[in-house]
Symmetry: C2
Amino acid sequence: MGEDTVKVGLMGLGTVGSGVVRLIEDHQEDLYHQTGRRIAIEKVLVRDRLKKRSVPFGKGLLTDRAEDLLENREIDIVVEVMGGIEPAREYIREALLQGKHVVTANKDLMALHGAELLSVAAEKGCDVFYEASVAGGIPILRALVEGFSSDRITKMIGIVNGTTNYILTEMKRRGAPFGEVLHQAQTLGYAEADPASDVDGLDAARKMAILGTLGFRIPLSLEEVKVRGIADVTPEDVQFAEQMGYILKLVGIAQQDHGKVEVSVQPALLSGDHPLASVEGVYNAVSVYGEAVGETMFYGPGAGEMPTATAVVSDLVTVIKQMRLGVNGRGTVAPYREKQLKSPREVFAKYFLRLHVADESGVMARLTQMFAEEEVSLEKVLQLPRSREKEAEIILITHTASLHQLSRVREQLEESDVVIRIQSDYRVEGGLSS
Amino acid sequence: MGEDTVKVGLMGLGTVGSGVVRLIEDHQEDLYHQTGRRIAIEKVLVRDRLKKRSVPFGKGLLTDRAEDLLENREIDIVVEVMGGIEPAREYIREALLQGKHVVTANKDLMALHGAELLSVAAEKGCDVFYEASVAGGIPILRALVEGFSSDRITKMIGIVNGTTNYILTEMKRRGAPFGEVLHQAQTLGYAEADPASDVDGLDAARKMAILGTLGFRIPLSLEEVKVRGIADVTPEDVQFAEQMGYILKLVGIAQQDHGKVEVSVQPALLSGDHPLASVEGVYNAVSVYGEAVGETMFYGPGAGEMPTATAVVSDLVTVIKQMRLGVNGRGTVAPYREKQLKSPREVFAKYFLRLHVADESGVMARLTQMFAEEEVSLEKVLQLPRSREKEAEIILITHTASLHQLSRVREQLEESDVVIRIQSDYRVEGGLSS
């Protein structure tokens, strides 16, 4: 191998790692045309050196010692696809300190320690790219950082977790309860054995923290993302939503108004004509609204061996191009905007509420009175056929109200003797024109 | 103005030009944070210096002499948003020869003379960026060149002309004929007084030539794009399409199989579950299929003052960042793949045919016989209630067949005495799984 070879150390040889190896081998000629360099995988860090692999490797290529990559002076770039926080964080930090560039698909790490790692990289004149960490095969980070560099992004709504989107799609399609569909998703390999990070919304929250940081150019941390998962969603919620013209999805929302920011992940009702409403199964999509550009949407596979590998190897191409130009670590813009988070009085949305109430006369008047007292007006009210003895079911969709107002209404509803229980409540996102 | 100011010459002060001026002024601080430079518009080339402008300019800023920009050594970057081929081509060429970088929104020019201008730029170490030339506010060129640099793109389907998409959307919504809707679109400013370049598909063809060149990395020229416009589309076609579960859209298709390429623009039937089927009005969208990534889709406003201006100014940001790094003109990869165009025997698709036939017994058998002889099998056949005396109407959707086979079937149909006329024929594009 001559001067025109770039040597890469690969950390992790799971699904994505194998995809990266395949892509580099299959597209060697194309990659050479674009970068002027051959890409050679010099070392691969694995947990078990002796395990049988689908990709055949030469002797000595696999190692279980991170030092074999980190202290190898021949290796210019480390590709980290092992996942998890430690030891990935330690390895990446060390790689950067050794002057190696880093490409990672690790959203957990970037959401939690991105700022730290990017600052080490800046000090050492190294690149850290992480396109694969959000929405797999969709080049959304590039779009935010470069495509919309001239615009001011006001809102991003994303379906950024394929597992939960698959579960909610199936719940809608089959009318089946959460637990049953989750089990099926696990059998099919769409959900992990421990599904908590997906179904509790944490995985989506990590991606929204990354999108918010890049889109709004503020140093956003994971704790600032309000999270609610989908474990409580019932098939009835999904069906009632549909009856009223909405689709129930787990969405991340990052919104900026008058310089103040909110970021959240929650199951929410999307209007049927919302660009994200038709995103089904394990697909991901992100709607980006810019002051000047208006509404755009990016759609594609959110995970999977090859889609994620394309994002990783495209980042690798960028690093190598920058190496040739000698400009690594100099193109990144650190978050520079002042971060101000919205208070609950400043977060505005429409809400869907499903209530079980006493089936007696005057209930509706008393309910609407509680909303009126908090100055929350109602867009739609639907009284359902009685399901149980002495209980009626009522669905309400409010006009835009603050989270603070909604909490006050909820308090009143909970204290009221006509309300048996608040069955569910969801944020509502309108369609194209709202 | 000090060392940290980059001086820009703006050619054209129409809709997009005014948007560019507004965006640079409104976002001066953000642009400074990203580029480390102030952007100053030094000269603006206009046809009429004395015309009243919505944007106020200092004295001496406007000029009607191109030399004032081209020979001004202070100007680093020329932004061309005047449109048309000449004199834009001459000006851009001259700007590059003077060592100035160029950002342009000019699809006509880039589709016809892009290769020439890019080669002059490469010689002089200058940048030419043209994100705004395709699909306005959608950063699709960046996605193709960078986001998917590691993948092999096999197909792109685009709704890349807002005017025709608006017209077809309205024809569907109102059942109105083409001429009437065109007239309305002209009144509303969605279509030009001379609508030929839009409705004949030429504007879309230019964009597809650009997408094909970048996506497939081949030197594609405009004449190689097969074009058919929408002037012959009838409300009946639109309605019959809808009845059969399809939406009629003007789409550009660029497809690559076994190293051979086809690029076309035509009204086509999209399956209702195709990601582009729900793209309505003046919006644009491009579906990109990659061997590794699978299916992705990019959606947004295809034109308009501010969306187009964001693409122009984002390109400007990239040029300025590259100036700071001293790497202009060195990142572009010229098309390097060998270009092989498919013959009609190699272009495969499904087709929709609407026929008026003699209303007599045995017609259907004779029709299907003609398809069978060319080995074209039928997916759907729909016989419509008789519309006129002695005429029956039949709609057929074929399974996948070559363009060559389809031509042979058409010949047979035209010669047959039972076929009164071929009312319409369209290519059909399936949904997600096809």
